[in-house]
């Protein structure tokens, strides 16, 4: 098991062991444990879940059951820029569907996918809570409001410019 982990992600054992120790002996840890794994590895990697599960005597099925329930967890590596497009009510009414169409066309990926060069991940989210500035998207931690299809693409182009 350990060898498999190290093959997929280098130095995984030394990176995951502190996480295991942090959560050992506590109850109700599945969500923060998975969040820590995701933070360290970049996504919820199967090998990493099996590794920490074995160390903490939690079955991988239980951990994956929790991970797949919540929107926060991802199962593939993400791009350098994560584009979270708000698809809440206010954004919908203000035309976020057209922003999504345009982003999908310009990046060549659909909702939930990552570009081949690992630069952009496009993700639709329920509501970012900036409804008065609709339509809104977040690029990594930065919020951009009052979008139009053109403006959304310009924001991404600015992001990759040197």
């Amino acid at each position: 098991m350990t060898a498999a982990v190290d093959e997929v992600i280098p130095n995984m054992k030394s990176r995951l062991d502190p996480i295991v120790e942090k959560h050992r002996g506590k109850r109700g840890i599945a969500i923060p444990l998975l969040a820590d794994v995701q933070k360290e590895v970049g996504y919820v990697a199967r090998e990493a879940v099996e590794y920490v599960g074995e160390k903490l005597s939690i079955s991988p099925a239980e951990l994956f059951g929790v991970a797949t329930f919540y929107a926060m967890f991802r199962f593939q590596p993400q791009g350098k820029y994560v584009v979270r497009l708000c698809r809440g009510t206010a954004c919908h009414v203000q035309g976020s569907a057209r922003v999504l169409d345009q982003l999908e066309r310009s990046l060549g990926v659909h909702d939930g996918e990552t570009t081949k060069d690992l630069m952009f991940t496009l993700q639709c989210v329920a509501c970012l809570g900036c409804c008065s500035l609709a339509p809104v998207m977040m690029v990594n931690d930065e919020v951009h409001g009052r979008l139009t299809p053109e403006k959304a693409v310009q924001v991404l182009q600015r992001g990759v410019a040197p």
Binding site: I31, Q102, L133
Partner: protein
């Protein structure tokens, strides 16, 4: 010259509008000036005017809107140094739209508000407990512990008429009483029913279109913490949990700072304010993204680290909640009311309101309105007043069509019912619900069938899957709505929608399923014509549903400027320079960019 304070709003909406560069410039410009203090505040709710900068001098306040770096220079040069007000950016004087208001409108946004929950938002630095204390902060908790009995505190909340602001509207005082009466472990002299109990703040604001909880947590986190401490003291609880969405990183940061400060001052921890029998502490639990976790039993499952699925009640959380301990759950806005009620008394709170709905309600105003943002209005104000006075009316003076209340559990209220007063019972009677206070206004360019489809898509994705009626029924409803918006609907679909809606409502365990059909039912009730237009005429009256609309160039008016060709993302437009262009309907994706870029408005949509 007297000392001056310059405030800058740095809540999420401010930052999204570009407040950070303004804040950096402000610090650079005022560095080393002893006569001016900079204060980083939260949100006063005028999101439509962000970034906001305030000047506080001689006991008066001037608030400037849409401030960029250039405007900031003007504010400093003219207002700070020459005492000349920058009139073209001024939006509020002393917190209200006074004679110097900018747009000359007759409908004041702030004067109609009663700010109890938002009493400190945008006025204090949320990272500084002293500013909260200076505005009566922790006085309610002190009064409860030093001057009142536990029963008196619960009675005060009951008398105030405060009801759950998360949507259901259950009386808060009754909830507390159930939790106090529930038998728990670790009793002490003053709490014979035990202290091993949980007080929870539901900050899993998942309702798309509502953002008041985010704003309160970002702008005034201590009001929630103090509310929870008062509740914990009355109920006899020693554990506190704030379950906050991970999508709100600033709220979580501000909460954690506030919790540390409250512990340092002895408002949390052991023997609070010298009471030997009262120990209480709070930690923040980050949600992981699931709308259903707003439901109490699902939220408890999530706090315990499981899949957030609801379970049947009874047992109610008051008797068996987190780790089977007695648990009381209220939402952010409810908690923020509590300290004010203790400080000012239940009578003062009760003075506002209508029928069985007392106090105020914070609404998140969004959609096709002029003045989006947060507004706290006394219960009983009509929807018309909220939309036309507080929210400034419809954007671009288009025609009002409907207002969506209560998010995915709510419904659309039409023009004919705009005089409905804002209270739990009156809004329920329309088929919508008060919900958490999301108010999304739609104009004639919004398609209600598309909005119904939008909400069904949301609940269908967020259904936890436990109850078949919710899991499968919402999927079938969504499929029908998708057919209708694609022009493939049949008239029997409408009866099928109503029949499915009834089954889902009756066959679901929790609020998500029980209320999931509401957006469809209310739009069918008030806008049946639009459904029929989609099905029979194959037309979308609002011109939103892509398969039912077609773009065309008016050859007679087209000047052949080629701007549309350049704007079209899919190359659907052809034509030579200075000759009429045409749109290939097969290729066209109905994005509308050509129409927007046409200088002579010769592109029509039918």
């Amino acid at each position: 010259m007297n000392r001056t304070t310059v405030t800058i709003g740095l809540a999420s909406c401010g930052i999204a509008s570009g407040a950070l560069p303004v804040a950096r410039e402000l610090e650079r410009l005022l560095a080393g000036r002893g006569d001016v203090e900079i204060k980083r505040v939260g949100c006063i709710g005028c999101c439509y005017m962000e970034p906001l900068v305030g000047v506080v001098r001689d006991g008066r306040t001037w608030t400037y809107g849409r401030v960029d770096v250039d405007t900031l220079h003007r504010i400093i040069d003219e207002h700070l140094d020459k005492n000349v007000i920058v009139k073209d950016h001024l939006i509020l004087t002393d917190g209200v739209e006074g004679e110097e208001k900018k747009d000359g409108s007759e409908n004041p946004r702030m004067e109609k508000q009663v700010r109890i929950v938002l009493r400190n938002s945008g006025l204090i630095d949320p990272k500084n407990i002293d500013e909260y204390i200076a505005r009566d902060g922790y006085r309610g908790l002190t009064k409860a512990i030093r001057e009142m009995t536990r029963d008196e505190v619960i009675k005060e909340i009951l008398d105030s008429g405060l009801r759950g602001r998360g949507g259901a509207g259950f009386p808060t005082g009754m909830k507390w009483r159930f939790a106090r009466d529930a038998k728990g472990a670790e009793p002490n002299a003053k709490n014979p029913n035990g202290t091993d109990k949980y007080m929870v703040c539901n900050a899993d604001e998942g309702d798309p279109g509502a953002f008041m909880d985010r704003s309160v947590l970002e702008s005034d986190p201590h009001s929630v913490i103090e509310g929870m401490a008062i509740g914990a003291w009355a109920v006899g609880a020693s554990h506190g949990v704030i379950y906050c969405r991970a999508e709100y990183p600033m709220a979580i940061e501000h909460l954690n700072i506030a919790l540390t400060q409250a512990r340092e001052r002895g408002f949390l921890g052991g023997k609070i304010l010298g009471d030997e029998d009262f120990s209480f502490d709070i930690y923040v639990k980050e949600g992981a993204g699931a709308f259903v976790c707003g439901e109490e039993t699902a939220l408890i499952a999530s706090i315990e680290g499981q899949r957030g699925m609801p379970r049947p009640r009874p047992p109610f959380p008051a008797n068996s909640g987190i780790w089977k301990k007695p648990t009381n759950i209220n939402n952010v806005e409810t908690w923020a009311n509590v300290p004010w009620i203790l400080t000012h008394g239940s009578t003062a709170f009760n003075a506002y309101g209508h029928g069985r709905s007392r106090g105020t309600k914070v609404f998140a105003l969004a959609g096709k309105i002029k003045k989006g943002g947060l507004a706290e209005i006394p219960m009983g104000m009509s929807l018309r007043e909220v939309i036309y006075d507080v929210a400034g009316g419809i954007e671009n003076d288009r025609k009002f069509k409907a207002v969506q209340l209560g998010g995915p559990s709510g419904g659309c209220v039409p023009d004919s019912l705009l005089d409905t007063p804002v209270d739990y019972e009156s809004i329920n009677a329309t088929g919508a619900i008060m919900g958490s206070g999301g108010m999304v206004v739609m104009d004639e360019d919004t398609c209600v069938v598309d909005v119904a489809r939008f909400f069904l898509n949301f609940v269908q994705k967020e259904s936890c899957g436990k109850c078949p009626f919710c899991r499968i029924g919402t999927k079938r409803m969504l499929e029908i709505l998708e057919r209708i918006t694609q022009g493939k609907g049949v008239i029997e679909d409408l009866d099928n929608l109503i029949s499915l809606a009834g089954q889902i409502r009756d066959g679901s365990l929790c609020g998500l399923g029980q209320t999931a059909p509401n957006p469809v039912l209310t739009t069918l009730k008030y806008f049946r014509d639009e459904y029929v237009a989609h099905i029979v005429d194959k037309k979308c009256p609002a011109k939103v549903c892509a398969p039912l609309i077609h773009y065309a160039v008016d050859g007679g008016r087209c000047i052949g400027c080629t701007r549309c060709t350049k704007a079209c993302p899919v190359g659907a437009i052809s034509g030579e320079v200075k000759k009429p262009h045409r749109i290939d309907d097969e290729v066209c994706v109905r994005c509308g960019l050509c129409r927007k870029n046409c200088p002579v408005s010769c592109i029509s949509v039918e």
